[in-house]
Symmetry: C2
Subunit: 164 residues, 2 copies
């Protein structure tokens, strides 16, 4: 499964591509300076305001933004269930680049390496994320999970936060 | 770096091969029935008796042997320092197969998927482990760390434990 899919949204379009058998690359331009966009990804006060679908409530349980530090977010669903997500920060290079692992607690031990880069476009910012999976099967499982829709919704929420 | 290296030891030889760019495969035959060898890998009482170099003292901090369960071992070094290792069990199929993640706490967020298979040779047991890395660089870093010598020493210690 390789290809490109564009998701339109209020403030822009999120592109999702699969340039190799084990990667998912997303790209999105936000209408805000790089420092503000970088802060939205790395400030525990801002994460709950945009991270995850609108119908869920995201809580930051742990967010120790330094190399080797842990992070854990909990999404409370409308039906009362919860989804936990966790990982470890591997590299923090403000305001340009963050490398971290990502693991959904519903599938423990399936660990993704996510690299986010923040590119200064002069008032706007391009965010590119590369998710590297151990296997193609795990990558395809993520694509099949509906991550593209969820991501697009998160990006819309981030547009709204940045517009404030 | 691809190749085969044989490490001789008291009870047998551990082969270490790199069949792909992201894998390390080790193979060793132990002179004991499969159930006993499988127990040595999955019983928290037995791990400290063979896991790690002789000069270190290994303590089992956590060992929740079920899918999704965590494990953490701490190796105390002669100089007083400690090395922590941790992961998550992904699959437990006694006495044939265990899949788990492996992470050295000195390099947090670099997560390996290890698959161990236990093959019944009729009184003897062949243990094959496949370590899958996210990247070739991480794989080569493990090879450069001296893991082969440490592994061979652990296998010698396991020989001695199984001979009791």
């Amino acid at each position: 499964m390789n290809g490109v899919q564009e998701q339109s949204s209020a403030g822009g379009a999120t592109s999702v591509t699969t340039p190799s058998d084990r990667e998912i690359v997303t790209e999105r331009v936000f209408d805000a300076p790089r420092e503000r966009v970088y802060a939205a990804y790395t400030d525990p006060e801002l994460i709950p305001q945009w991270w995850g679908p609108r119908k869920t409530t995201t809580t930051v349980d742990v967010m120790d933004v330094r190399p080797g530090g842990a992070w854990r977010f909990v999404c409370a669903n409308p039906d009362g269930s919860e989804d936990g997500f966790r990982g470890t920060y591997r590299e923090i290079s403000a305001p340009e680049r963050v490398v971290q692992t990502f693991e959904w607690e519903g599938m423990p031990g399936h660990v993704i390496v996510e690299t986010a880069t923040f590119e200064d476009l002069g008032g706007q910012t391009r965010v590119t994320t590369t998710s590297l999976f151990h296997t193609t099967e795990e990558r395809d499982g993520m694509l099949a999970s509906g991550m593209e829709g969820g991501l697009s919704e998160s990006h819309e929420r981030l547009d709204e936060l940045l517009a404030k």
